[in-house]
């Protein structure tokens, strides 16, 4: 896929800093709560700088973030997620916020020392937006009260600003996203001890009648249809391709790590690495196209699921198969490879497992088949 100048600059800048992110990988994995110590690192600041780029009028922010995330994860996905900045909440804000809300959010994360959370997943229903239970009730004075539990949320414990999805009623149109700031009465964020992607400080948000002023409801300037379930689904599509970017970046990291350390290859190993490289390149291109589709908003969001499905399959394969090129025992002898294997497992769960993505792909295909588009 051909990238324009700005997209190439994003790619090249973060590619340049991938080594700096990699250098922090094991430190952050061991002590993810100590990220404050690394905030002045040039690579960490570069991730923040790219995350803060203003959206281009009429152009794709999703694709830009995907390109940046692939390169950052090429250094290390865990550290990329540990960097302060807008993170995935920024993508939701770009999609659903009005100008004033967008500026408030950007100002909140501008200092390079502030993390943002994005509350979608719930303990009982995962990322199934239709069954979301977190509720937004009128407080009787023009504002709202937010109650519920969000679980497996990046930056839940340390984020001081974020977006939380909830519902005001039973219908699909009642799904709303709200801006939330911490600390606040009725909001408690707790980090969980996860197997991998530990830099993300994945955790839980407990919301107990958290006051939400009316100006914090996102999408008030949009039509009812476009700010409800449509907005949530578009946001999820956006986040899914970002997870796919983490996967492709990590697969690339594994490939390059192995390739650098095994310079003399047998014929079989060379063929294996060649196949790996071809698959990585193909999935990366697929991911870019899915991101461009999300940006284009042509109702083909199932491509985001398809891209995440392929990207996660790729990284799970890469992290289990490629280390063997370094010989038996590579996962014990190379802690980074073992860490990336743990990280890859987490990508399977983020924003819907592969089974959920399969269902989305099937529904998208069948919908098009029903409309005659497939036969055409």
């Amino acid at each position: 896929m051909e990238l324009d100048d700005r997209l190439r600059r994003v790619r090249d800048e973060l590619r340049e800093h991938a080594g700096g992110l990699r250098a922090l990988a094991m430190v952050v994995d061991t002590a993810p709560g100590d990220m404050q110590r690394h905030l002045e690192a040039s690579a960490v600041r570069a991730v923040h700088r790219i995350g803060m780029l203003p959206a281009r009028r009429g152009a794709g922010r999703c694709l830009e973030l995907v390109i940046g995330t692939v390169e950052a994860a090429r250094g290390d996905a865990g550290v990329a997620l540990a960097c302060p900045g807008p993170s995935v909440a920024g993508a939701v804000v770009e999609l659903l916020a009005d100008d004033a809300q967008r500026e408030r959010f950007r100002a909140a994360v501008a200092d390079g020392r502030t993390w943002a959370f994005c509350g979608i997943t719930e303990p009982a229903v995962g990322s199934d937006a239709m069954q979301m239970a977190t509720a937004l009730h009128p407080d009787g004075a023009g504002g709202y009260l937010l109650s519920g539990v969000k679980r497996y949320i990046g930056n839940a414990g340390r984020g001081t600003v974020g977006v939380v999805f909830a519902r005001t009623g039973a219908s699909p149109a009642s799904i709303r996203a709200v801006l939330v700031e911490a600390p606040a009465p009725g909001l408690r964020g707790t980090a969980l001890d996860m197997l991998g992607l530990r830099g993300a400080q994945i955790g839980q948000l407990d919301l107990d009648r958290l006051p939400v002023p009316p100006e914090n409801l996102l999408g008030g300037h949009l039509s009812t249809m476009r700010r409800g379930m449509w907005g949530a689904i578009r946001a999820f599509d956006n986040v899914r391709v970002q997870v796919g970017a983490l996967a492709v970046g990590t697969a690339t990291a594994v490939y390059e790590y192995v390739r650098e350390r095994r310079r003399e290859l047998t014929g079989t190993e060379a063929a294996q690495l060649e196949a790996a490289k071809a698959r990585i390149d193909a999935v990366r291109d697929l991911l870019y196209r899915a991101a461009a589709e999300v940006d284009a908003d042509r109702g083909r969001g199932h491509l985001a699921s398809l891209a995440k499905l392929e990207a996660v399959a790729l990284v799970l394969r890469a992290t289990s198969v490629l280390p063997r090129v370094l010989g038996p025992g590579a996962l014990l002898e190379h802690p980074l490879l073992e860490k990336w294997r743990r990280d890859a497992m987490g990508m399977e769960f983020m924003e819907g497992t592969s089974d959920i993505q399969r269902l989305n792909v099937a529904q998208g295909y069948l919908r098009r088949a029903g409309a005659g588009a497939v036969a055409a």
Partner: protein, 289 residues
């Protein structure tokens, strides 16, 4: 640990390796197959994971204990045996003690892990079966559109894949356990050592495995050559099958299975054990899936 009845050969007689791993976990399963006086399985650079609580295992020259928080949660310890690092590999590819001090070290201080490739399959099966049972209970308790998740076809397919892997591995293991006596004429192959030991009642590594297969010596001695499996060759694809099934089952718990405190972490740690205990035991190198 639950004490759910395990549908294996242990209904009569002593527990099998699979049962031990099912009931007591990874470290206990490894203790069941490990002979503390025999060579320790290590990677080419001398790394290995050993079950804690077995002091004799750690009384070896040049052994360094290394931090590994995840392994510790399963009662395992990461160690490096300097004497057995790659530089000590002999001309025949076999591991040799590098720091022997002119042969001063006992010959069985440490060594390779080929002998454990098949017994480790039994350990991993026990863990997988335990986690599959737990996953099914977990899924049955979660609802989607008014029905338990176990009613979903995709979920059922995943359960079927894992169950099929368990059955396939069990049958292959049983068949491999019959093979050693017909192959006993191949004493030069290191890979066959544990299989030859199958005939020895005192073999710590192999006797419980035989029980898994529910085979007596008489049965083994009369086995039809075409009904048995080449265990050394089978270890690779059995571990590869278990790798895939482990991932399938771990996914069944959703993101909860990604918590470091979740019991399904044992499958991840077991795959790390495989790195040293079954070196090279995988034929799953392809990019087809």
């Amino acid at each position: 640990m639950t004490t759910t009845a395990v549908p294996t050969a242990s209904a009569v007689g002593p527990p099998t390796v699979e049962d031990v791993a099912y009931r007591e976990g990874l470290a206990a399963g490894l203790r069941a197959i490990l002979d503390p006086l025999a060579p320790v399985p290590v990677t080419p650079e001398g790394y290995t994971l050993l079950p804690a609580g077995c002091p004799a295992l750690f009384e070896r020259p040049g052994l360094t204990v290394l931090p590994h928080a995840l392994a510790a949660t399963e009662g395992l310890v990461l160690v490096r045996l300097e004497a057995w690092a790659r530089g000590a590999t002999g001309p025949d590819g076999a591991l040799r003690p590098r720091a022997c001090g002119g042969g001063a070290q006992p010959p069985r201080a440490c060594g390779g892990g080929a002998r454990y490739a098949l017994p480790l399959v039994a350990v991993r099966m026990g863990l997988l079966r335990r986690m599959l049972d737990a996953a099914v209970a977990h899924l049955a308790g979660r609802q989607s559109d008014g029905a338990p998740l176990t009613a979903r076809q995709l979920v059922q397919a995943a359960v079927a894949d894992a169950a099929t892997t368990l059955e396939t591995c069990g049958h292959a293991l049983s068949s491999a356990a019959r093979a050693p006596l017909r192959q006993a004429a191949r004493p030069s192959s290191a890979a066959w050592a544990p299989l030859r030991q199958a005939a020895r009642p005192s073999s710590a590594a192999w006797a419980p495995l035989r029980q898994t297969a529910q085979l007596g010596t008489a049965g083994a001695s009369t086995a039809d050559p075409e009904s048995t499996v080449d265990g050394a060759a089978a270890a690779g694809w059995l571990h590869a099958r278990l790798d895939r099934a482990d991932l399938t089952v771990a996914t069944m718990f959703g993101a909860a299975g990604y918590l470091r405190g979740h019991p399904v972490r044992c499958l991840h740690v077991a795959a790390l054990v495989r790195e040293a205990w079954a070196p090279g035991a995988s034929t799953d190198h392809g990019w087809e899936s």
